[in-house]
Symmetry: C3
Subunit: 139 residues, 3 copies
């Protein structure tokens, strides 16, 4: 069994952003030489997500609006978590809707994707360096 590990670092200037990381993950997979297996891609922070969906800017605005409706940032006093001095209570909730991780099949040393699948980093509490883990196992 082979395994591969890589961290991807990002420093999102604003509070929230969706970043397409598909090519980063593919590059790591190609470097790994793993032909058949499973690739795990997960946020290593608990106010961020990794998810798979469409790279379409209108949809990304829909996600932003929808997540703000489901778990609004303001008022920050609306979250018990923010009594700790944080202001990111909402980000911990948004992350649960969008998910922590994706597991992707590896076939013939490629991500085994349908036509529109792209991997995104969903940042909900940025403005600092944060990272994603890529771990691939197989042969």
């Amino acid at each position: 069994m082979k395994n591969y590990r890589e961290e991807l670092w990002f420093d999102v200037p604003g509070r929230r952003a969706l970043i397409n990381i598909t090519q980063h993950v593919e590059s790591g997979l190609h470097a790994s030489g793993i032909k058949e297996g499973l690739a795990l891609v997960n946020a290593m922070h608990i106010t961020a997500s990794v998810f798979i969906n469409d790279d379409e800017s209108g949809l990304h605005q829909d996600y932003e609006r929808w997540l703000e409706k489901l778990a609004p940032h303001e008022p920050v006093s609306g979250y018990m978590h923010n009594l700790t001095g944080e202001d990111n209570g909402d980000a911990h909730l948004k992350r649960q809707v969008m998910g922590r991780e994706v597991v992707v099949a590896v076939t013939n040393n490629d991500l085994d994707f349908g036509p529109w699948e792209q991997i995104f980093y969903g940042e909900f509490d940025g403005r600092r360096k944060k990272r994603i883990l890529v771990k691939i196992i197989g042969e």
Copy 2:
């Protein structure tokens, strides 16, 4: 290490449906001969889900009503994504709530399930051929 790959194709006649695919996945697992490992089952389309829950028709009606409340199909003009000419903005959101994939333990060449666990394909934008990926690795 062994690996197994299969695509399951569906053409749901309506816009939305929940379809129990447990037996399809089990058949593939038995064919694979893999005794111990992990099975990944994921939607290959970004307006559909694979998830695990109960095969109970009342619950499925609850999911339908709840998802329509969280991310209603109408008005289609309520989604920026639909400015592309699509009318499936809601389906991209519903899919995030229900999830893209499940990972299931394989033990003794069977799905290692609790008493009520069943795998479902959740279609939120049907009326065309779409597919699910089954990838199993182990030995």
Copy 3:
């Protein structure tokens, strides 16, 4: 390839609770001797979740309030599922928001975690014995 399997049993006295199970999973991983691989941790029941987030009591109260808002327990007659005689329709919905499972990278025989990642069992219909599955594969 090595594999490891363990069931963790819990009997939550109330209807809902969030329980940190990180140390249980770590103990199993250390016992397994698996150095590099993937660990799957999933609820074996369909009214419970396994998820990764912060071990902070204020946040846990935020989750409780938020999930009750998204899928309230009362009125129990509000769920078709409850026509079966159950009163846990809401728990099947809450579980979808929080997720069934997590997949965690195993590196150097440890859970490969960011600074605040902790694994939780999310119980939404307790007051009886229920279990979690830990399955680890690797070498």
